[in-house]
């Protein structure tokens, strides 16, 4: 029985062993090694779809679809977890300013799930912030870049000696391994075709992500998260979407216009009107759709629409604002500003 104590101690030490020692890279090799480490992250911005096979505590298994998109040059992202049938279960948005949960359906609405999902997505999708603390080689001959994060955790990115595959490992501030991601398979637009994430600790789980589709996007990708700025000297084709993304963690809009219609109701009202009165396919009536160029309405149509809403919703008509209406979103925002909330 006495032998059990030292064995347990050794196991505990192994679990808390912390990151391995690195042999520092030669100065002339540092940039090349760092490039290889950062090469495991797609850049600069992308939209991707993965299948996610999850093995959760208690032997619970499930397969989901994950949709992710980065913006702001790979510093922010939005992620959706979908059922295989396509239902959005969780919708989160992360930026250095914080986390916004747009949607979380039971039982995935429990405290901490969205934050954990966002943390895993950061590990999978975003390069660590700032320069690495160390660049070198571990005992297995792997090229390693090491960051020490703001939360005191250490994050290593290790590239296999043969160049086939990579691993990201995180040790918490106490030196315990908390997460590991292994990437393998052919790269596609900067993505490994397969990534396996293992979370250690009391609620250990594992995720296997298989790449389904990926699309690299340009500098405009940020528009999904923040309002696009007007191009200098150019035309602003889409108005800023202030209230559209002012959504709190409950999934409800923030209520900046407490006495008027919320954005979701306004959009549904406009969509219902356009599909019914003008027999437009619902899928064409998107927020960005241009009333005249894409939906083929004429000015009388637009005026009729506003007039009918004025009558049905009891809202005021502000002529000056009508001049700026060009898209479905313009009409929606007009309702948000002027249509009374239905009781």
């Amino acid at each position: 029985m006495k032998a059990g104590v030292p064995i347990a101690a050794v196991l505990a030490l192994l679990g808390c062993g912390g990151p391995p020692r690195l042999v520092p890279a030669a100065p002339q090799a540092r940039d090349e090694t760092l490039g290889r480490c950062l090469g495991v992250f797609p850049a600069p911005d992308f939209r991707a779809v993965h299948s996610i096979s999850a093995t959760l505590p208690g032997g619970v298994t499930g397969v989901f679809l994950g949709v992710s998109a980065t913006s702001d040059g790979g510093r922010s992202f939005r992620g959706n977890l979908l059922s295989l049938e396509g239902m959005v279960l969780v919708d989160v948005e992360w930026s250095p300013a914080g986390l916004v949960v747009h949607r979380a359906l039971p039982p995935l609405d429990r405290e901490g799930f969205a934050a954990g999902m966002a943390a895993d997505m950061r590990l999978l999708l975003l390069a660590p912030a700032g320069p690495p603390r160390e660049i070198g080689e571990d005992g297995d001959g792997r090229a390693v870049c090491r960051w020490v994060r703001e939360d005191g955790a250490t994050q290593d990115i290790a590239i296999a000696a043969d160049g086939e595959g990579w691993a990201t490992t995180v040790w918490d501030a106490g030196g315990r391994k908390s997460r590991q991601v292994r990437g393998s398979g052919p790269m596609r637009d900067g993505f490994a075709s397969r990534m396996e994430l293992t979370a250690s600790g009391e609620s250990a789980y594992s995720l296997v992500l298989e790449l389904v589709d990926v699309e690299a996007v340009g500098a405009g990708a940020g528009e999904m998260i923040s309002a696009p700025p007007a191009p200098a000297g150019g035309c602003l084709d889409t108005p800023p979407r202030g209230p559209l993304y002012a959504i709190g963690a409950s999934g409800r809009e923030g209520g900046a216009h407490g006495e008027t219609m919320d954005r979701e109701t306004a959009f549904e009202t406009v969509r219902r009107y356009l599909t019914k009165q003008f027999e437009l396919p619902p899928e064409k009536v998107t927020a960005e759709a241009h009333l005249f160029e894409e939906l083929a309405l004429d000015s009388i149509d637009a005026l009729d629409m506003i007039s009918l809403m004025e009558t049905e919703l009891g809202m005021a008509v502000v002529e000056e604002e009508l001049k700026t209406i060009r898209t479905v979103e313009d009409v929606v925002q007009y309702l948000v500003r002027h249509a009374p909330q239905k009781k």
């Binding site: 397969v63 549904e268 005249f292 000015s299 009729d304 007039s307």
Partner: protein
């Protein structure tokens, strides 16, 4: 003009709107007449199996089985192009359903009227999903089975509005706010063939939606038990 020398359209359409105010009444009257004519035409063309709940139930009563392939398009605000899925659907009265996806992930949802089971293909083998979540799918499949039996207006979860026409559509809106938080409405479009559904569109809020379009629908073909019990 912008910096590229192109003409800016800012305010152009708005000016057209304001300028049109003076002619509104005259044009609106013309529009009412036009809509009335169109509506009358639509009603005549739609005078068939989708003109009333009773007619829909009668048509559906003649359908014992349904088999079809489908294409599903998921639209999300963060995607520039819809996420496309393909699969097959099979239904046998009273409540057996096989809902199978062939891409992007091979999976099948099965019920023969009792429990709901989901299998996914991993490394070439079907694996049963273990855990919670199937109860929610039970509710969904019960709803689908009711639709396939023409009982749209009997749902405890959704209020149904029938719009006869060409095509006939049925709009389902949640009766309870709890459901409305994740499904704002469902639009079912009936096919010309009596008893058949052409498409289903599910709206999750303002900009996320799923459209399922059925193709090659076959009615009343023989569908064996195994189809609804094994992947």
């Amino acid at each position: 003009m912008n910096t590229d020398g192109h003409r800016c359209r800012r305010g152009f359409a708005g000016d057209r709107v304001v300028a049109a105010v003076r002619t509104t009444e005259r044009r609106s009257l013309a529009r009412v007449v036009l809509f009335a004519a169109l509506a009358a035409g639509a009603m005549l063309a739609g005078a068939g199996w989708g003109e009333s709940w009773e007619a829909i139930r009668e048509a559906a009563a003649s359908v014992r089985t349904v088999r079809a392939s489908f294409v599903q398009e998921k639209r999300l605000p963060i995607l520039t192009r819809p996420l496309r899925s393909e699969g097959t659907f099979a239904f046998r009265r009273p409540g057996s359903i096989r809902w199978e996806y062939r891409m992007p992930v091979e999976s099948v949802l099965l019920t023969d009227g009792g429990d709901v089971r989901r299998y996914t293909k991993r490394d070439g083998e079907w694996a049963a999903e273990a855990g919670a979540g199937m109860e929610a799918m039970r509710v969904v499949l019960d709803e689908v089975a009711a639709w396939m039996s023409g009982r749209f207006d009997e749902s405890a979860a959704f209020a149904a509005t029938l719009s006869p026409g060409t095509p006939t559509t049925i709009e389902l809106t949640p009766r309870e706010e709890a459901i409305g938080r994740f499904v704002t409405r469902i639009l079912v479009t009936l096919a010309e063939t009596p008893g058949a559904v052409a498409s289903i569109e599910i709206f999750e809020g303002a900009e996320a939606s799923t459209r399922i379009e059925f193709q090659g629908m076959e009615l009343n073909v023989e569908l064996g038990d195994a189809l609804f019990t094994a992947p």
